[in-house]
Amino acid sequence: MSIVAEIKPTNTFSFKPNKHSVADFPMPTTRVESWKYTRVGAIDTNWKQAERNSNSTALENAIRIENGFITLPSTSIAGIQLTLGKDLSANQQETILSLLSKENRTDVFDAISENASNDLVLIEIEKGKLVEEVLAIELGNSSNMCMSAPYVFIVSKENSVAKFTVDFKGESEQSFHLVNLYAHVEASAQLEIHQLQNTSKNECILLRESISQAEKSVFKITTVTASGTWVRNELNIRIEGQHCETFLSGAYFPKQDQLIDNHTFVDHQVPNCYSNELYKGVLFENGKGVFNGKVYVHIDAQKTNAYQSNANIMMSDNASIFTKPELEIYADDVKCSHGSTTGQFNEEALFYLRARGLSEESAKRLLVSAFTSDVMNRISIPSWKEYVLQTLIQNEIITE
């Protein structure tokens, strides 16, 4: 049975006019270009709409999103205002509607999210504030066979600086995270989001992120998928103001029959901006990876500097990767480049390490950590980087 049949509309977006109707959209098939390599079968099943876990308690320093329901941390962070959906002012509702309206995609998952969303949170970083503390968001599904559909909205106000971590934890046997994150980075603000996905059981993730940047803003994001049965990350970044910098990076390690799909879109709408994209994959066993990196440079976006790189190592003959750079460049005075490599392990290097006494397994892990080190070095929060690396060590992907 399809997930659609199960949907009972919620009140989360009661303030939103013209909600989409789920019935108006079909499930995407592989005939749809952006779903060509990713079948939705794994997520199109009869999930129960998630319910609040009444035993769930607030975390001290992190926003806890459990079964899609949001619990704010027990201590507050100076410079960050957190507001749950039910507590939004009229102005804040307007803010959310304007964030939503920036995303011009509408498909069945938007309609499902909008109608079935359990909860939302608006995170506002005060103007001019340099927030030293990291704001952590932790997502887990504690009930089995549930679909959780939370929304996170972030507004980095003018000239603010903040860093987030987003931790997808595997807590259920089988469930579906349908997560929407919208962020607007105002003029001269800096926002970083560092994400880890380690849903080791039969959990699926569809993460849809929609970012917009005003002039002179900096946005950086890293997404490490350490494990996950079916993971699709859609990251759309609209660069609306001049002199912005954008760094988007990711590393993915599908094993067994896992599927990890990263669809990114960098939309250079205005001149004089810089974007730098680096995604790396190491594919084990029957693991499958998809990387689709779209960069669109509008006709007026002169002096755009856009770099994209995707590199993959196949650790098994049965693993597969579908990688597609999509560069659409309509301005003439730009510097854009993309590179994509897929290869086997460097046998020479492997032998060299073994000839010094390292086992084949640890030599491989050393080479995997070397291969992905440039992505890991973009994680600017040392404790988070350590946590990500420890997770990869535990998953027997890299070595200490």
Binding site: A349, F351, A355, R356, L358, S362, L367
Partner: protein, 251 residues
């Protein structure tokens, strides 16, 4: 120490070693010379356990154990060290981390206690001084951006760190200037302790002036065609290989 008997090996259907025999005793230094393509590096690779080469016949015993039966890492742990002719660059893997792991594995295998961080650093300092390797290089990625001479010194540095009982040096002299050659040779000589054995592959007498061999062998077309003492190397330097090739090809 090392006993190679009638060793035959091929790569991609091409026979390269065609019945090679060589015995290296404890504390001995053997030089192996021979024209390009004769199979010297192949011998070194087969000894180190490179799997691209298929051993089609013969035996190799190392300290009484069947060497050919061991994977490459076990050979290293058992005390065999190959200084590569072309050390590979491994971007992203720090020399230090890699060596720490290697030293750890080797010591564990030999039943020695793990070194503390301080002891390890002390060892690094001592051994890098031995080959006058700039301390900075130890902190960089393995061989990445090293000059030819630095790569070779790094090989000898690793050798000193791992404390092997049999060292195979494949053209460690090539790419070294006069000073570097002296430094590397002194490093090697410092490791000669009457027990540790060496197989030194080289084209030139120049190296053997510093590392004086007990025996010299000529490898040609996958076999040892002549063996002698250090005087043989001088003779080869003077006469080249043609006289040997002729007698061998006439057979």
């Amino acid at each position: 120490m090392l006993k190679i008997e009638n060793l035959q090996a091929r790569i991609e259907e091409k026979e390269i070693l065609k019945g090679l025999s060589l015995t290296v005793g404890e504390g001995e230094v053997h030089a192996i010379m021979g024209p390009n393509g004769s199979g010297k590096s192949t011998l070194a690779s087969v000894l180190a356990g490179r799997e691209d080469y298929e051993v089609t016949g013969g035996t190799v015993t190392f300290n009484g154990k069947d060497l050919l039966d061991m994977p490459a890492e076990e050979r290293a742990r058992e005390g065999l060290f190959l200084a590569f002719q072309y050390p590979v660059e491994i971007p992203g893997v720090s020399n230090m981390n890699f060596l720490k792991a290697a030293v750890g594995e080797v010591r564990k295998h030999r039943g020695l206690e793990a070194l503390t961080a301080k002891e390890f650093l002390q060892l690094v300092k001592e051994k890098s001084e031995l080959v006058e390797l700039d301390g900075q290089l130890a902190n960089r990625a393995v061989n990445e951006g090293f000059s030819g001479g630095e790569k070779k010194r790094n090989e000898i540095f690793q050798m000193a760190m791992l404390n092997p009982s049999l060292c195979v040096l494949d053209e460690t002299d090539s790419g070294l200037d006069i000073d570097a050659l002296r430094i590397v040779s002194e490093g090697v000589n410092a490791m000669r302790d009457g027990k540790r054995s060496f197989v030194v592959i080289t084209h030139y007498q120049r190296l053997l002036d510093h590392i004086v061999p007990d025996f010299v062998h000529v490898l040609y077309k996958g076999k040892i065609v002549k063996s002698g003492t250090k005087e043989l190397a001088l003779e080869l330097e003077e006469k080249g290989y043609d006289w040997l090739k002729e007698t061998e090809d006439a057979k």
